[in-house]
């Protein structure tokens, strides 16, 4: 049984937003118009947070892509009265749109703000209707939605493997965001498979002390790992000091 996880290397991230667009297209996320942004109701299963570091003129832009952390002890799960959100055996925090009644308690209890509510009926321009992904449900108004590690891709790969009578191969599946990332900053895979790209990357980064998780102190055991940005100047100064 795989345990899906993700590694996001912030040293490689250039903040291009390709992951956001890829996710949008893959998962039938409604088009975020300017109006929706102004209402602060934009839906982005993976969002790119931009922070400024330092004072002008020495300002640095810092980017951090934030998908759902797929917490092992997800705080959003027990608060749903109708079991619309639950944990799969493969460690993915799933949302069942049909069960959801929209209490939005899961969003209240999610500290990464990665659960999104459909405030309006989703609309696509006619030209885009044919590009909707047939593998993914189009959500109606009034339900929560969130990143699910492109679960339809995982299911498809697992079914294919079953038909072919074999186990899932290492790194056979990847998410849309990881696939679209031009710098390979996002890597997706099985955390329990020592040969997978995520495990190898994590093991290497562990030696460099670069691994951390967002809001780790809450004890929810997120399955998305971040690799710290390597600050070249700071490293150089530290080396000189030695």
């Amino acid at each position: 049984m795989p345990r899906w996880g993700m590694v996001i290397d912030l040293d490689r991230c250039i903040g291009c937003g390709a992951c956001v667009v890829a996710c949008q297209a893959e998962n039938n996320v409604p088009i975020n118009t300017e109006d929706v942004y102004h209402q602060r109701r934009a839906i982005a299963w993976i969002r790119l947070e931009r922070y400024w570091e330092g004072e002008f003129p020495n300002v640095k832009a810092r980017y951090i892509p934030v998908p759902c952390m797929q917490c092992t002890n997800a705080p959003c799960e027990p608060v749903c009265p109708v079991y619309a959100t639950y944990h799969t055996t493969e460690g993915i925090n799933m949302q069942v749109y049909n069960r959801c009644i929209g209490t939005r308690y899961c969003s209240i209890n999610c500290h990464w703000h990665v659960r999104f509510f459909n405030f309006w009926e989703p609309k696509w321009p006619d030209s885009l209707k044919n590009q909707l992904n047939p593998d993914v449900t189009v959500r109606s108004r009034g339900v929560m939605e969130k990143c699910n590690f492109c679960v339809h891709r995982i299911v498809k790969a697992e079914q294919k493997a079953k038909v072919e009578g074999r186990a899932l191969r290492t790194d056979e599946v990847t998410t849309a965001c990881a696939q679209a990332c031009p710098t390979n900053a996002i890597v997706f895979g099985d955390l329990d498979d020592p040969n997978s790209a995520v495990s190898q990357l994590l093991a290497q980064a562990e030696r460099e002390h670069r691994v951390y998780r967002l809001l780790e102190d809450l004890g929810t055991e997120p399955n998305v790992y971040y690799l710290k940005k390597v600050d070249v100047e700071a490293t150089a100064t530290a080396a000189e000091a030695h």
Binding site: Q39, R40, R41, E49, R50, Y51, P75, P78, V79, C80, P81, V82, Y83, R99, C100, I101, G102, T103, R104, Y105, S107, I108, N109, H111, W112, H113, F116, F117, N118, F119, W120, E121, S140, R141, G142, V143, M144, L215, L218
Partner: protein
């Protein structure tokens, strides 16, 4: 011990049943005014159903707003009923008699109004109603009992059932009274509701026992309801919500706002129905004294909540505490809660002269509830606006006109239902008034002979 006028039985019956048959101009004003606001409420809710929650001011991370604040507020008001009728009945406080009925009815109507809020506040209310009430066990998919949103309706529906039964038990003798004095549809209605009440000894005995039993049984519910409502917040991980003090704090806050609402109701009933002989100044005096204790208890928990947020020196709690105590506009709101909830009303209630002034009691009780509404907002919103370190996502909450209409409309709804109730059922318990008259004795106090009850404190 309170002095009271001696009133004849027939006089009591006639005066207390008067609102049923006569409608004063003020009542018409009430019906039309409240009905108009209610129409706006219905329109706002329908508008929201049609377009979806997009028409509210909610966004990420402010997923809960005015409607949830209002829900907590109305649950709070509903605590008046048990406080007045059950606790005061068990402690045999005589001054409860004229207000028990009104307080119980307010409990039921405010509970119903409160229950409406979480339902219309869900993304798909039709599904909430269809799948959840009653729960569709046929699907073999059980509700997740780990979550407070399952405990919450259970507690509230228990409370609603308990208080409806309690109210009905205390209404049976009055229904018989009204049955014997009316004709037409009213006679049919009261005959059904009176359950064949003849007023014989066995019936009285059973009615008394049922009343005491129900008031005893309802007491734990009284503590549990608002505790469980507070767990809607305390069980989550949002900083400043995640506090163990929330349960008792919410309960005492509920009593504070609930008892104040009873004062408002008493004053309104006095003005609307001219029940001067029944809702007397000494009743305001007694409830004012109760309010001093309750208000001070509330202040204690208000300060405890702040203290418990500061004491662990947890950075996130401190940040939100700092935000809601010292930053605009929450600093003004904090001051407002302090002043309206405690510093204006309680010092006023200390003086008997003011406690016996209906106008002053009315306005101070309104002030308390303005303060308590603000307090719920103050408790719930800041934690969401600045939820965790994601400054990128932090956001202000601005309620839309739809939400404001729903909040105002909920007040009109409760008021309207109370008015309709008092047109159909006697708003003051007739038999309890008469019972009070029976308990009164001619007492020699110095040179005067006073008509009073000995056993009350």
């Amino acid at each position: 011990m309170q002095e009271r006028h001696r009133l004849g039985e027939e006089e009591i019956t006639r005066e207390l049943l008067r609102p049923l048959v006569t409608t004063t101009p003020m009542m018409w004003v009430g019906f039309i005014g409240l009905g108009a606001v209610l129409a706006i409420f219905v329109f706002a809710v329908s508008w929201m159903f049609y377009w979806g929650l997009g028409v509210t001011g909610l966004q990420r991370p402010n997923m809960w707003g005015f409607m949830i604040v209002n829900f907590v507020f109305w649950i709070g008001i509903s605590h008046a009923g048990v406080m007045i009728s059950a606790i005061l009945r068990l402690t045999q406080a005589e001054w409860r008699r004229p207000v028990t009925r009104a307080a119980e009815v307010m409990t039921i109507f405010s509970l119903m109004t409160a229950m409406l809020h979480p339902v219309i506040h869900t993304g798909r209310p039709w599904r909430t109603l269809y799948w959840v009430f009653p729960y569709d066990f046929w699907r073999n998919l059980w509700p997740d009992v780990r979550g407070p949103l399952v405990w919450d309706p259970s507690a509230i529906l228990t409370y609603l059932t308990g208080s409806t039964l309690f109210l009905y038990t205390t209404m049976i003798p009055d229904m018989a009274l009204a049955r014997d004095r009316t004709t037409g549809w009213r006679k049919v209605l009261y005959t059904i509701l009176a359950l064949g009440w003849r007023g014989n000894e066995r019936q009285w005995k059973m009615q008394t026992i049922a009343g005491f039993l129900l008031s005893g049984l309802i007491l734990p519910v009284f503590v549990s309801v608002h505790s469980i409502v507070s767990w809607d917040f305390a069980v989550s991980l949002v900083p400043t919500w995640h506090a163990t003090v929330f349960a008792p704090y919410f309960v005492i806050g509920a009593i504070h706002s609930g008892v104040s609402a009873v004062v408002t109701l008493m004053a309104l009933m006095r003005w609307l129905f001219r029940f001067d002989h029944y809702i007397r100044l000494e009743h305001f005096d007694a409830i004012g004294r109760l309010l001093i204790a309750v208000g001070t208890g509330w202040l204690w928990f208000f300060l405890l909540d702040i203290f418990f947020a500061i004491y662990p020196q947890e950075a996130r709690e401190l940040e939100i505490m700092q935000f809601r105590l010292f930053q605009w506009p929450f600093n003004v709101l904090t001051a407002l809660i302090f002043i309206f909830g405690y510093f204006i009303p309680v010092p006023i209630w200390i003086f008997q002269r003011f406690r016996r002034n209906v106008k002053i009691m009315f306005w101070t009780s309104i002030l308390v509830n303005v303060g308590m509404w603000a307090e719920r907002y103050w408790l719930i919103k800041p934690g969401l606006m600045r939820k965790y370190e994601w400054t990128f996502d932090w956001n202000w909450y601005r309620p839309s006109i739809v939400e404001i209409s729903i909040v105002l409309g909920s007040f009109a709804l409760v008021g309207f239902l109370l008015l309709v109730f008092s047109k159909i059922f006697p708003p003051i318990s007739v038999w309890e008034e008469k019972e009070g008259q029976h308990f009164a004795q001619q007492l020699q106090v110095g040179k005067r002979v006073v008509n009073a009850i000995v056993r009350e404190f």
